[in-house]
Symmetry: C2
Subunit: 175 residues, 2 copies
C-alpha cells in the first residue's frame, strides 16, 4: 500500500515542533511522503538528517495550495481525512486496508468544509479532541497492523537492537 500524508494549515512558528512530530510519525509509521504548506524549510533538513542516520527515503514536499494538491491526488488516491467528527475508525479500517493508494489528510487548525467533501472517508480516532499526531499514528497502526515497525530500513547508519534496559545501537558504517 502506498501512503502519503497531506497536512492542511499551519500556525507558523507556534507549530514548528508539532510539524516535526507529524513528519516523523508519517515516516516511522509507513508513509512515503508528507506534503505541507507554509512550514519552516528547516523541516526538510531535519528529516533528511533522520533519513541518513536511521534509513528510509521518506520525502517532505512543500506545496503552495492544498486544494489543488487534494483535487489532483483524488484521481489516483483514496482520500482519508482524520477528524473527530467522522465515522468511527472501527467501521472503516477494513475498507481502508484494501486500498492501494491512500492520501491521509490532517488539519493543524480548523479544516474547511471542502476537505470533508473531497474525502472518501472522514475518519474519527475517537470522538474526543486530542492531536493530529496521535490520530495519524493510530490510524496507520490499525491499518498496517504493526507491520510498519518490523520493516528494516535500508541504508541506515544506525540500527537499534531492542533491549530491556539501556541502549543498544549497531553502527552500520563500521565494517
Amino acid at each position: 500500500m502506498k501512503i502519503e500524508v497531506l497536512r492542511i494549515g499551519q500556525r507558523l512558528v507556534r507549530d514548528d515542533r508539532v510539524t516535526t512530530h507529524v513528519a516523523l510519525v508519517s515516516r516511522a509509521f509507513g508513509a512515503s511522503k508528507i506534503l505541507m504548506q507554509e512550514v519552516n524549510p528547516e523541516i526538510k533538513k531535519t528529516i533528511s538528517d533522520v533519513n541518513r542516520t536511521w534509513g528510509s527515503t521518506f520525502e517532505v514536499e512543500i506545496i503552495d495550495n492544498w486544494r489543488k494538491v487534494l483535487k489532483s491526488k483524488k484521481n489516483s488516491f483514496k482520500i482519508v481525512h482524520l477528524t473527530m467528527y467522522g465515522e468511527n475508525i472501527d467501521s472503516v479500517v477494513d475498507k481502508i486496508r484494501q486500498e492501494e493508494q491512500v492520501l491521509i489528510v490532517i488539519g493543524a487548525e480548523k479544516v474547511p468544509c471542502e476537505a470533508y467533501d473531497l474525502a472518501d472517508y472522514n475518519v474519527a480516532v475517537g470522538n474526543q479532541p486530542h492531536s493530529e499526531i496521535s490520530a495519524l499514528a493510530v490510524l496507520l497502526d490499525r491499518v498496517l497492523q504493526g507491520r510498519q515497525f518490523l520493516k528494516k530500513q535500508e541504508n541506515a547508519q544506525k540500527e537499534i537492537v531492542p533491549t530491556k534496559r539501556g541502549k543498544k545501537v549497531l553502527d552500520k558504517t563500521i565494517d
Copy 2:
C-alpha cells in the same frame, strides 16, 4: 486499569503545543492524570475547559521533582517507560494489560538513565524516532484495545455523533 502519565523534561515555551497534545492524548486515551514539571500553568486551564465541554475528570498535576514522584509511585504502580531503545511493544503488551495500576513515563528530551533503571518495562513503539505523543497513543490503544474510544464521558456539555460527512454535535446543556 488505573493509568497515569509522567512527563519528564520540558523545553519550556518551545514545547508548549506538544505539551498540550500530550495532555489531550492522555485524557482521550484513558489515563486519569498527567504529572508534569516546568510547564506553562495555562495548560491546566486548557484541559479544564476541554473537560467542561467534552466531559471527564482528567487531571493535570504540576510537580517539582520527577525523580521523587517516580520513586514514590513505584510502590503502587508498574512503571512503563516509552523509549525507542526498549523492548518491542509486541513482546510486552499482554503483560502490561494484566497490571492494575500503570504509570507511563515519557520524555520531552533526552531521558536520564535513572528512568530506564526505575522502569518495570522499557517499551519501544517501533525502533525509529517519532514522537512521545504517537508512542503514548499507540501504547494505550494497544493496551486498551480501542475500548478507550467507546466510553461515554460523563458530565459532557457536548457529544459528537459520528458521521460520514460534516459535523453532528449534541448540545447536552439543552433539555
